[in-house]
């Protein structure tokens, strides 16, 4: 049986990338809020090297530069919730944080962890999608640090699967500052304010002017193998005045666009109904704004 043979806690990105480059048998430890229960529950086997990345300064912090906000992969949900920058520019993220698990978990869970876990129902993922977030990745393939960026829409491949390469580290999320008159709301279905795996979640964003949304972004969670953008719904919404008929039409397109499954949390039929009813409700709210 393969046991953990090495525990390391690198203090620089270079060091961490070097470990990943040397061997594929590395499990990354950040907040641990997902790794620990998965490992203890036998659903995930920790590889031969356990690498604690929590001491890498570059992965921390929430900063702004060049018209974009950069959230370090190690930013905790609590830090995001309390960040002045985020509250001012990206309040939809604060909304999502408020629905995330519990205070104890928010204090430890990292945005990077949430993104890399790529759960179809991941709380932070839907708002990141409607904000056009990009993933920042780093690796050290040829002895020097190489970076690349990828839109989050391309990052998620399947449940728990991302395009992060085996030797790559997610270093942060980059979100362009929203334009003027930006509207962005997030809804997570549940009977509790938080501590719920959502049956569905919805993110709607765009530029709101004269009762219509343009540069529309719509994303749904828990209704597909990955958190998904909804191009047909966006198209139906783009630039249209939000009267009752349009809202009903768009809600119908949304219902048809999603492909949820039955599981112990909800049936596919009900998820579709929720997508329809809640999209309609959210758009009615947009119309009143």
């Amino acid at each position: 049986m393969d046991e953990i043979e090495l525990y390391v806690a690198p203090s620089s990105l270079e060091e961490a990338a070097a470990y990943l480059q040397r061997s594929a048998e590395v499990t990354i430890l950040a907040g641990g809020t997902d790794l620990m229960p998965q490992s203890q529950g036998g659903r995930l086997k920790i590889k031969r090297t356990l690498m604690n990345i929590q001491h890498i300064p570059e992965l921390k912090g929430i900063t702004i530069d060049n018209g974009a906000i950069r959230i370090g992969a190690l930013a905790t949900i609590t830090e995001i919730m309390q960040s002045e920058l985020i509250r001012q520019h990206l309040p939809i993220l604060v909304e999502a944080c408020d629905h995330f698990a519990s205070d104890q978990i928010r204090n430890a869970a990292t945005l990077g962890g949430n993104v890399c876990n790529a759960s179809p129902a991941g709380d932070m993922l839907v708002p990141l999608l409607v904000l056009d977030a990009e993933a920042e990745l780093a690796s050290k393939p040829n002895g020097s640090l190489t970076r690349r960026r990828m839109p989050l829409t391309e990052f998620f491949v399947g449940p728990g699967k991302t395009r992060r390469g085996p030797a790559e580290l997610l270093t942060g999320l980059r979100i362009g500052l929203p334009p003027a008159n930006h509207y962005a709301r997030f809804f997570k279905f549940g009977t509790r304010p938080a501590l719920d795996i959502s049956a569905i979640s919805i993110g709607i964003a765009g530029v709101l002017k004269d009762g219509a949304l343009s540069r529309v972004r719509v994303a749904f969670g828990a209704v597909a193998p990955v958190p998904m953008r909804a191009p047909r719904t966006e198209h139906a919404l783009e630039g249209r005045r939000l009267d009752a008929a349009t809202i009903e039409l768009v809600a119908g397109v949304a219902r048809d666009e999603v492909t949820p499954i039955d599981d112990i949390r909800a049936t596919a039929w009900y998820r579709k109904e929720l997508i329809h009813n809640i999209t309609r409700r959210m758009l009615a709210h947009v119309a009143q704004t």
Binding site: L29, S102, L195
Partner: protein, 162 residues
Amino acid sequence: MSLKHDIEFNLNGIKRRATVRVDMSALDMLREVVGLTGTKYGCGEGECGACTILVDGLSLNACLMFAVDCHGRDVVTIEGLAADAKADALRAAFVEHGAVQCGYCTPGMVVQASHLLTTHPAADAEAIKRGIEGNLCRCTGYKKIVEAIASVSQAGRQGATP
């Protein structure tokens, strides 16, 4: 043989060392290696809050934390709050308001409440309920727990020394 690792950290104000299995949770370390049983096992998955501790001033589920991650950090358990004024006020309030029945959730509740009142000294009932949403209780129905915490919060609000 699983890999063991030596760590050094502050536990309840005292610097100490421990040797832990690399895949061990902080909860197991506290209970089995250090021998402090006030932090409880409720679910092992971060859903019940019975294992709530403070790490670098933030409340966390010890069952979700790797023991090795305690290295270099400040860890406080319910035992470490024995001389804490705010925790004292909370304990007295829990007793006064009937917020303890079987008591199994109580240490986690007290630690979480202590953290809540540090970050939101004037938390009202709604904020308190959200603040303890990660702490399950099967006996009390939460009402008296919320009242107990609110009574300490009120005291804070009115400027009384907790």
